[in-house]
Symmetry: C2
Subunit: 290 residues, 2 copies
Amino acid sequence: MALMSTDLLYAGEGPRFGDICAAAPSLRWLQSAAAGLDVPLYRPLLKPGVRITASHENTISIAEYVLGAVLRAYQQPERFADAQRRHAWEHHEFEELMGTTWIVVGFGAIGRAVAQRARAFGARVIGVRRSAGTEPGADELIAPDALIARIGEADVVVLARPGDPQGRAVLDAEVLAAMKPGSTLVNVARGSLIDVDALLRGLSRSQPATAILDAFDPEPLEADSPLWDHPGVIISPHASAGGLGRHERIARLFITNLSRLVAGEPLPDEIALEDLPVVGRPPAQFQASR
Amino acid sequence: MALMSTDLLYAGEGPRFGDICAAAPSLRWLQSAAAGLDVPLYRPLLKPGVRITASHENTISIAEYVLGAVLRAYQQPERFADAQRRHAWEHHEFEELMGTTWIVVGFGAIGRAVAQRARAFGARVIGVRRSAGTEPGADELIAPDALIARIGEADVVVLARPGDPQGRAVLDAEVLAAMKPGSTLVNVARGSLIDVDALLRGLSRSQPATAILDAFDPEPLEADSPLWDHPGVIISPHASAGGLGRHERIARLFITNLSRLVAGEPLPDEIALEDLPVVGRPPAQFQASR
């Protein structure tokens, strides 16, 4: 049994821990702290006799991060902080979430958790999901091919889905050109979901005006990327899963799933080989695995 | 008919506009954009034949500000911003709202709006309200005299009530000494609700660790106040009502209440003379009226 914790991934030790697991003849089960196992790290571990389970224990952190980041972009508290340093009493008005429209691309556990919080602020949430059906957590659910027709309604677009198996960008030049001017983009998923060159062109026409990016391809983001210094780009180092509550949540999940394993019960969120990508990526990206 | 907008108050023009209103012989009704008319500005205007109504149209702004400010204190995004300036890939973990306990002192429109949003993040909310009763928007309601016994449970304490008619601080040395170490205090109400000397002593023992202050006594905050440079204090210039959506909301309310006035219908949130304080304050504080 092994636990691939977020800490190992954050510390860049994912690949080394993966090597150890792959070399361990007795490994029967690996619990990952990550929700998205669509990075090459996991594939070599999934051998006959070895089971891998994903986790949704980072969901809460990520949803809180998204709301915190959008509220910050809307309220610009750094302007108050700057005035405070100067002992200056300077007002500024700010954007409100009330009445905004959000499109959440990928309506799994993370998308739903983001939607629940955004809706408490009076936002309308449109979820984008492959499978049809209704969903009480969204005001509307649409299919991925409807995104380009509907994205112009969104004040906030949140990417919360796995990477495309073929590595295609969901936000390509065409979709970016359909975004609402002045809108905000949040990526807490995979860097490969965005065509970065097209995003830079979009930012120059405020489509979107602000890009809150927590995922890049590759990771860490290259030191010479133009994203770092762009005034419309807010960068965090694949850190949105970093809420302190996750430690206890993942430990509890590990114990629960261990009991299930021992009892021969089904393991929730177990991953199959066909869920995992075939192609490799530079080791640096493994650090980003959720 | 007159509309005392937040903009007039923000611009420090409240007193001058008040003088104009007081001098206007034909004034029949003043609509204030503020919820709390417990500042001396309004008293001289409330003469026979003149009616004054308060508004809850700033509620949304203030509730969004509170959540934005607490999430920022919990997530410390300025550390990511600093790393971004250095093109550095530096993680940090952050506190989560999930599982926190909030005590909201004053459970009117603003308190309820704060509670609704905090609960969507998985927070437990205890409201403090003079009148007993139940309230679906709070997990529990307590009376003001229970605050000192219960405040130690709160990770976040939000002040959202009018000033005490006698000017007493609700957060005095005794109550501050009962706060939970490491907790966060938010004041979006009246500066007079906090004993600032006792707060500074409290901050030195992390009771609270962080004070998010949007209201002061007097206002503007004196340039030599020790609050400005305290590392645990986050200052905004009575700006939490500054959401852009309020302009349309207050205009709609003005039109609705004007129709009611013309039709002889009752005016909601009409203020009586006994609701208004007798004592005067320096004119600078009028700027702070909500």
